[in-house]
Symmetry: C3
Subunit: 409 residues, 3 copies
């Protein structure tokens, strides 16, 4: 492992195991390749505070939905979207607490499952309503949003404050290569469709779904291999030399964690239900396409917690955390959430395939390619943030102008 | 900043500010990521001499064009093409002199505008005649020509003389990532066309132009951010430790610089007019396609000055300069000239979009990908020159065999 | 050249010149970028023994083919496939012995020609029968098979035994960039077909073949440049500091080498004849497509010798050798075997073009991209093996589900 020489001890990575007890808003992202430092604690506390006041939007959303005579879908959409952010933070906190009590194996699994709980719930509800194009758009949007928007803003704002910032490039490598693998996987159904359409036998949705299921299984297994690599066999890659500060916060009891987890998950589910239920009318009233809503709006809402945390970490010059949250979150979406949604679609009796539209496929490939270049030297500066945000803007323009519904190539 | 240990002091990069007064033929290219050393002075003097004798072709071109009874378009094409090279060198020299007198901000802008003056004037004239496919082909051709042909020849010839050559890879990184961003931007209109064609709403040229305009604005802003990064906030990335030799050449007065700039620009404009006006008949008589002329011929002519300078620098073992000229020039074309031409096309009342043909898009993406790999380690050797030239040859073969006019996918 | 500091002396690369006398089963692969160490000798001896018992399948294959009344194409296919493996090993051994006796220049050429003798013979016979889609599928399959399956298994198994493994990344660079160049070349005919189809002039097979021939010539010349770079001008890149152990094995005489080479080549040719002759009926009885047979089955058989050697080397912690075999073999296929088959196709009077199907092109590009990322840091660990194998599995799933015959885009 090559550790940058200039890196002061307190910027080195700490063991994920300890971290996971402390950071309510960044549960398991840091462990998919990169880890965090305990000095970030105070920040998270203030973060939680700053996010908790957004909880006020939850009762407003409920009122808008159930108060008789009310029918303002746009207001409901906005309030639900905002209210999801702090509740998603509580899911993260409860997951951490629970994971710390059940041992490493089950704990890792819990984190892996609930780490992107908000995205998963929103997408699951959209899936149950048959809105597969919103589901796929939000998968693609979450991947590119984390890499380009979340990391881009973090690198830009961090870079404006600190001339040069460093992170552990060894950890980032594993995550970025896994993202490349996922990008290849997401291109395959599109390639298959094009090739099969030109054959006499032709293309059939059933074969497309079998292909997608096979790919999902491979991605899912790879995800758990990456977890094993990060948490077990090569956790020394991600461990710094510093002595961990002792954790002073009082731990939750197991039952408290379970109760909070259940309540928060239920609330997010309800709010997601409101959100997804109003997409159609909001889309029509604002005049943007379903795909634009999925790629931009849903993706930003589902990742708001990571977003704010990553930026705060970058300002505090903790680029390891910032990069870890952004890349790790994309990785979880691509290797865990996307396959899981395919499996879920079979449970719902509406099998979904993994075929993304050409613009979505292109956006994911371009984002993964740029993050590979940016992350290669373990250093960031503000121009790299500008470059990431430029790619995000350009892709946003593409999705904005795309007519609806567009054909899936 | 990681400086290669073996690099002798006199190979380190010097501040762009000082350079720009000395090198008539490489105005602002070096500043987009990499910079030059003062030892290169003697070379440039001889360069200028060796290029100035080509000025003889300017009166020949005028004679061929205006002498009554003459009508040899091929000779006119060839003479105009050759004569543009030394006059473009004088634009560069005058720009440098003027930039040195007006302060850094306005000077940088001057350099950015006139750095690729020849390409810009040729393309502008082609644009005013409605030859948009020649304009696009020459944009694509300039990008790949600088990366593959100019740099390939420099690396090969330099590598045959010097076993291993080094350059500042930190500076090259920023430029190469910006090129990747530009490559992504240039793919987007093609992706949009494909996706929109398959939708019921369908594809419309008006939306394509709006999309292209939006992308151009983002690229243009990114270009000025890169300038700010290179010239202001992170110029220490590009500055070596050595003491600059004092410049002994007498400076031009501001008015002399303005007069030379105006005359040289006017002459290039006239020669470009001849060049573009004869493309059609030359194309027909040689039997190659319009796109081949744009991608290969116009691109080589427009970049001839950079070309010879980059090769001479490589032979002198100044790879920082050589790489800086080649990559920086491609960067200027992609992030500055291409958007500017889109803006100009609106002034001319013939709005152009940024949709390149599939072969052009592929050529740009492949070139940027290869330069990313080659530039990654900050070292070059002759086989890397062979590899760059091989890609150029292969792409040249593709454009040679393409039927005319080919459909834009 | 940057040598990793932690690398113990006995892991450094040794001169290819000496190596080539010792390793019967890995003739010239190691020289295309990476080289081997003499400590590997004992392994090879046991390898040869373990492979030689497979020779028993050769007489069985002959019996199945010529014994009257027998007609079991599947058994003949399987026996021929297995029997090719050890005989291919003997071709390698004889080539090494002969190369060592005829001097460096001719020796290098011999190695280059016979290094992938089995693949070349199988493909040549398929070509003579007009099975061009099998030929192309086996070219694509050999490239991706070596990069993903051979190297993936080596890295995974080596990584399970050794926590971290290192290899000479300077050597790997040259080979990987050459592979990228080859990948670009293989995409071009597909791009040409798409672009030309949309033009009024249209696409014609004759122009496609001219284009392919031009590309093949460039690739072929590049291959010999890479050989010159590796064997002559920059062999110090590939030479370690250690003292070579003296070779004790008795050398073959020149005539013995020639006789063994001729007999082994003849036997492989006959077995390949059986193999190719039964592809059609095996394909039909197992129910897989011709392309799947080419990409997966033929590619695995043709590279079985490299396969076992690379894995054994990885287990012995000789990653330089393992990486060198896998990447070098892909390189030979792409830059030497593929162009040679195009040239051969003209001798057979059935000119073949280089246009691969979209899935094949995608598979090659994806594999080359992943190997570029994996090989970038000169280190491997088990998760990188998992990542390579995941990509192989995903591509295998794609080829498995593709309907037959599929249109070539």
């Amino acid at each position: 492992m090559i550790v940058p020489l200039q890196q002061p001890p307190d910027r080195k990575c700490s063991p994920p195991k300890l971290d996971e007890r402390k950071h309510p808003n960044l549960p398991s992202k840091c462990r998919c390749g990169l880890s965090s430092s305990p000095g970030a604690r105070a920040v998270f506390m203030s973060m939680k505070l700053s996010l908790n006041w957004l909880l006020i939007f939850a009762p407003i959303a409920f009122a808008l939905r159930f108060w008789p005579g009310q029918a303002n879908p746009t207001a409901l959409f906005v309030c639900s979207a905002i209210a999801i952010v702090p509740v998603a933070g509580w899911i993260g906190r409860a997951t951490e607490e629970l994971a710390a009590r059940v041992g490493e194996g089950l704990g890792g699994l819990l984190n892996a499952t609930f780490g992107n709980a908000a995205e998963l719930i929103i997408a699951g509800i959209a899936l149950s309503k048959g809105l597969t194009s919103v589901v796929k758009a939000s998968i693609a949007g979450s991947i590119i949003g984390n890499i380009l928007l979340v990391l881009g803003l973090s690198v830009l704002l961090g870079g404006l404050k600190h001339k040069e910032q460093r992170f552990n490039k060894t950890g980032a490598r594993t995550a970025v290569i896994s993202l490349s693998l996922a990008a290849i996987a997401l291109v395959i159904p599109t390639v298959f469709h094009l090739a099969a359409s030109g054959s006499p036998g032709g293309w059939s949705p059933a074969v497309e779904r079998q292909l997608s299921l096979g790919i999902s299984v491979v991605l899912f297994i790879t995800y758990f291999c990456v977890l094993a690599f990060t948490l077990k066999t090569h956790k020394h890659f991600f461990v710094g030399a510093e002595e961990e500060l002792e954790e002073k916060t009082q731990r939750w009891t197991k039952s408290k964690a379970v109760v909070v987890l259940m309540i928060a998950t239920g609330v997010v589910a309800l709010l997601s239900e409101f959100l997804v239920g109003t997409i159609e009318s909001v889309r029509a009233s604002i005049g943007v396409t379903e795909v634009f809503v999925g790629v931009v709006v849903v993706a930003i809402v589902g990742n708001a917690a990571e977003h704010s945390t990553a930026v705060v970490m970058a300002l505090k010059n903790k680029m390891d955390l910032s990069v870890g949250i952004a890349i790790g979150s994309s990785l979880q979406i691509a290797l865990f959430v996307a396959p899981l949604l395919i499996f879920l679609s079979y449970c719902f009796g509406r099998p979904m395939d993994l075929e993304f539209s050409l613009p979505e496929v292109f956006a994911v490939v371009a984002s993964v390619y740029i993050i590979f270049q940016i992350s290669g030297d373990g250093e960031t500066n503000w121009i790299e943030g500008v470059q990431l945000l430029s790619v995000y803007l350009i892709l946003g323009i593409l999705f904005f102008y795309l007519p609806e519904p567009f054909a899936r190539h």
